[in-house]
């Protein structure tokens, strides 16, 4: 009885876990993907983030973009304050999202913000990714919003995923969505 139960549980867990692991092991986003550097400076009472990120570049990405796939590039920024004997207090939790797509009519790679207000055209994928990987003086917080005592921990993480897709469809392809990859958290202590 116990043996059979254990086998059943193991089987189900294996089925549940094996498929996503299998399809994600060698995805189209393979390649160098990391945060090279990141720092925050205060300019006139505004915290500005600068970061240098290496995004993966390969033919699968290029081909997918040319086939019409939209890729979303997220930069998650968290600022938290350590508390003793309790969970850390979150001061800031924001995400900078930009989308990269290939414009077939103009033969340009188009980079736009999430709202679609700002848009840039690039003749090459490399130029577009270079632009994406250079974050300069991005205002993220007003200094007065930093509650509590220093130090604060700043954590930055970059992620890439498939962009334009209905949520229902995204839910359906959850099992096999290998167009989703994130870097590890890049953290440092902020003292002003």
């Amino acid at each position: 009885m116990h043996t059979i139960s254990r086998l059943s549980v193991a089987l189900v867990l294996l089925i549940a876990l094996a498929a996503p692991i299998r399809v994600r092991s060698a995805g189209p986003l393979a390649g160098d993907f990391q945060i090279r550097s990141a720092f925050v400076v205060v300019d006139h009472g505004v915290l500005q983030l600068s970061a240098h990120i290496d995004y993966p570049v390969n033919d699968r990405i290029r081909s997918a973009l040319r086939d019409g796939v939209t890729l979303a590039f997220d930069l998650e920024v968290n600022i938290s304050r350590h508390r003793r004997l309790w969970l850390d207090a979150t001061v800031l939790e924001t995400t900078l999202r930009r989308e990269l797509t290939y414009h077939a009519v103009t033969d340009r790679y188009v980079l736009r913000d999430e709202a679609g207000v700002e848009q840039e055209n690039f003749p090459t994928l490399e130029a577009a990714l270079e632009k994406l990987g250079r974050i300069e003086d991005l205002p993220i917080l007003v200094q007065s919003q930093l509650r509590g005592d220093a130090p604060w921990e700043v954590a930055v993480r970059a992620g890439v995923r498939r962009g334009h897709m209905p949520d229902a469809l995204r839910a359906l392809v959850f099992w096999t969505d290998d167009w989703h990859r994130t870097t590890g958290w890049y953290t440092w202590m902020l003292t002003l």
Partner: protein, 742 residues
């Protein structure tokens, strides 16, 4: 809490968890479908809940299957029925599910493939090419115009340049015209919109293209869905090494209609691209989702099938178990009444049946107990009966017999049930005769008889009154019951009584006239003898002498009869029997020194309490008989021995008188102690009869038999004391009762 209770609780928790997981998954689905963003966020939880539900169901199913297998392996009543029902239900559930599953898989594959047909993709590509071609025409036209316009700007500077730029901008409906110097700085600007700030620097690729001698033309999309064209051309100024060559950059706006069409094509193409990219993942996801749903449904259905089968078969299992219990004799079995349907009616009938069976069983048990009690009572009665009772079949195989039967026939019926009569120990002549007589009658077809049977024996013949009757039997192979009684003593007593009466009459009727006859004969002789002549006198003398002599003989005989018939008048006293035996033997030796009398007396024999004179008479009669029996026997010898025995709890003194003469004749052996039975030619036949009478008056008994080595032997058993006499008399009374019943 014991282990079973914990298991039970775990199963309940798992069941509740499985159903709660299912309901939670449904609720999450229902809520999140309305909001796709929520669905995306909750989807991992929905998946987790489903997996948990599947795990719980699998654990429950594994447990159920294990229970079913264990019951099937252990041959638990109803397990086969449950297994068949589960298989049937399972097949009914699995078959349609599998069909639907396979159909759905095929439908998903075909459906998704149909969304991305080649024609659509080709059409979109063609539309993109067409749009690009349309825009390319405009691009080339604008590039050509820019080249011409750039040549017209040669050497223009300042206000003239600005006027020329404005003219051109208005003429071509350009959005903006900027002239850059060789360093990429805006030298002159003409814009359709007021300038809010300094114009943006020239894109680096413009200068690079122009430096390479190629014209620059670029088509860009704008956030509002519009398209803009950028064209640049070098101004053919006189080149100075210091200032370098200027160039003009013109921003055109593509007409709105054309932009909208091109943007529509681009948007559709982009959407199609996004969708085509998820074609295979979508298939896999649909398959996995469908598989999970089908798996959950299948597990739930199988679990439901097992549950239903167990519910259906439980009353049947109860009935089987109850029937087995009843079969093993447990009539107190009651089944729980689980429902009011036909199964409930069956269970009710079963309970009613067991109730009636129990009543009947109790009634039968009471009857058996009554019969058993009756049998025990009968067995006690039979064992106490002095009458022998034997029940056999027609083949003479013993069914039952009482103790008296063994006593009478000189054998033992202990453990004789099932044995043949001939196998009984020891095989005496009495038993053999009994069996042969019985067999002869049964063989002759006699079913019932009542008659006397004389059996031979070493101590004389035994007379039985036996009766036989057939036992009723439906199979007509029933046995017979033989009832018999030893009436030897009874017959002997009857004879004794008769002879006693004869003796009294003889003593009374014959003795009285003998004396007058004798006196008359003597007077005749005395009166007539003197007056007769010698011859007559001699005749008278002989006649009267004969009369007197015969009268004396008759007197002796009458006295003997009188002695036999005399009422007991014993004078009991304690005396030494050995001494008495010695005295009597001595007297005989004195009278006849040639006689051989040997004594073997037990020195441990105690004094006995008896009538000394009568015991002397016994000894005298026995010794006389012995000596007379040895007449003419060479080396004849009479041996007298005494010893002590215990019989029926009483101490007895035994006098054994044996000789080595011819022994008793067989024809009189059974009647030796009857009056007037004698083996001697001139015996009165009253000696042994008187011995027997005296012995019986003392409460003892006497036996006579022939010795195997030749000669006769008479054994006299006398109680040692009055107390022993009483004990023996008890046994004697029982014998009397037997006689009376007989």
């Amino acid at each position: 809490m014991d282990v079973d209770a914990i298991k039970h609780l775990a199963v309940r928790v798992l069941t509740v968890a499985a159903f709660a997981a299912g309901i939670a998954a449904l609720l999450l689905l229902a809520v999140s479908v309305e909001n796709s963003a929520q669905f995306s966020r909750w989807q991992p939880w929905i998946l987790l809940v489903n997996i948990l539900g599947a795990i719980a169901l699998m654990v429950l199913l594994a447990r159920k299957f294990w229970q079913l297998y264990r019951d099937y392996r252990d041959h638990v009543p109803g397990s086969r029925l449950a297994m068949r029902t589960v298989l049937m239900f399972g097949a009914l559930v699995i078959a349609p599910l599998v069909i639907v599953y396979l159909f759905s898989l095929d439908f998903i594959n075909r459906g998704i493939d149909s969304w991305f047909r080649v024609e659509i993709k080709q059409g979109l590509n063609d539309a993109v090419v067409l749009s690009r071609s349309a825009l390319d025409l405009r691009l080339r036209e604008q590039a050509r115009r820019t080249d011409i316009f750039a040549r017209s700007l040669r050497e223009l500077q300042g206000t003239a340049l600005l006027q020329r730029l404005d003219e051109e901008r208005r003429a071509t409906e350009a959005k903006e015209i900027i002239v850059y110097d060789a360093y990429g700085r805006a030298a002159a600007v003409s814009s359709a919109t007021p300038l809010a700030q300094q114009p943006a620097p020239s894109p680096p690729e413009v200068a690079l293209q122009l430096a390479a001698g190629r014209s620059y033309v670029s088509l860009n999309s704008l956030p509002n869905g519009q398209y803009s064209i950028e064209t640049a051309a070098p101004i053919a100024d006189a080149v100075s090494a210091r200032s370098g060559r200027r160039y003009v950059l013109i921003h055109y706006e593509v007409p709105q209609e054309l932009s909208a069409l091109a943007e529509g094509v681009q948007h559709t193409s982009s959407q199609y691209g996004d969708l085509s990219a998820v074609r295979e993942p979508l298939k896999i996801s649909f398959r996995l989702t469908l598989t999970l749903v089908v798996l959950l449904t299948l597990l739930a259905a199988i679990y439901g099938a097992i549950y239903s089968a167990q519910r259906l078969t439980r009353p049947v299992q109860d009935l089987i178990a109850g029937t087995r219990a009843v079969g093993k004799g447990d009539l107190g079995t009651r089944l729980p009444l689980s429902s009011r349907d036909e199964m409930g009616l069956l269970v009710h009938s079963f309970n009613d049946m067991t109730k009636r069976l129990r009543r009947a069983s109790e009634e039968a048990k009471r009857s058996r107990q009554a019969v058993e009690r009756e049998r025990e009572r009968l067995a006690i009665i039979l064992s106490r009966l002095s009458t022998g009772v034997i029940v056999t079949d027609r083949e003479l195989t013993v069914h039952s017999a009482n103790q008296s039967a063994g006593t009478i026939l000189g054998t033992s019926f202990a453990n004789a049930a099932g044995q043949h009569l001939t196998q009984l120990p020891p095989g005496t002549a009495r038993l053999a005769t009994f069996i042969s007589e019985l067999r002869a009658r049964l063989t002759a077809g006699w079913d019932e008889w009542r008659e006397q049977l004389t059996l031979p024996g070493e101590a004389g013949e035994r007379v039985l009154l036996w009766a036989c009757t057939r036992l009723p039997d439906e199979r007509e192979q029933g046995g017979v019951v033989i009832v018999f009684d030893d009436i030897t003593a009874l017959l002997s007593a009857q004879r004794d009584a008769a002879w006693g009466e004869v003796a009294r009459r003889l003593a009374h009727e014959i003795k009285n006239p003998l004396t007058p006859i004798q006196l008359s004969a003597e007077r005749l002789r005395r009166k007539l003898l003197g007056g007769m002549n010698a011859e007559d006198a001699q005749l008278l003398e002989r006649a009267t002498h004969t009369i007197v002599q015969q009268v004396d003989a008759m007197k002796q005989m009458v006295n003997a009869f009188s002695e036999y018939a005399r009422a007991p008048d014993m004078k009991l006293q304690h005396f030494n029997l050995n001494q008495l035996v010695s005295e009597v033997a001595e007297l005989y030796l004195l009278q006849d020194p040639s006689a051989e009398i040997r004594l073997d007396l037990d020195p441990a024999l105690p004094e006995i309490e008896a009538d000394r004179g009568r015991v002397r008479q016994i000894l005298a009669n026995l010794i006389t008989n012995g000596i007379e029996a040895l007449a003419g026997v060479k080396g004849g010898c009479v041996e007298i021995s005494t010893l002590q025995q215990r019989a029926e709890g009483a101490a007895t003194a035994v006098i054994c008188v044996r000789d080595n003469g011819p022994g008793f004749r067989k024809e009189i052996l059974g009647r030796l102690f009857d009056p007037y039975v004698s083996g001697k030619p001139r015996g009165t036949g009253l000696g042994l009869a008187i011995v027997k009478r005296i012995v019986e008056e003392h409460g003892g008994r006497v036996e006579a038999e022939n010795r195997p080595e030749g000669g006769a032997r008479i054994l006299v058993f006398l109680p040692v004391s009055d107390q022993d006499r009483t004990l023996l008399a008890g046994g004697e009374r029982r014998m009397e009762m037997r006689r009376e019943r007989a």
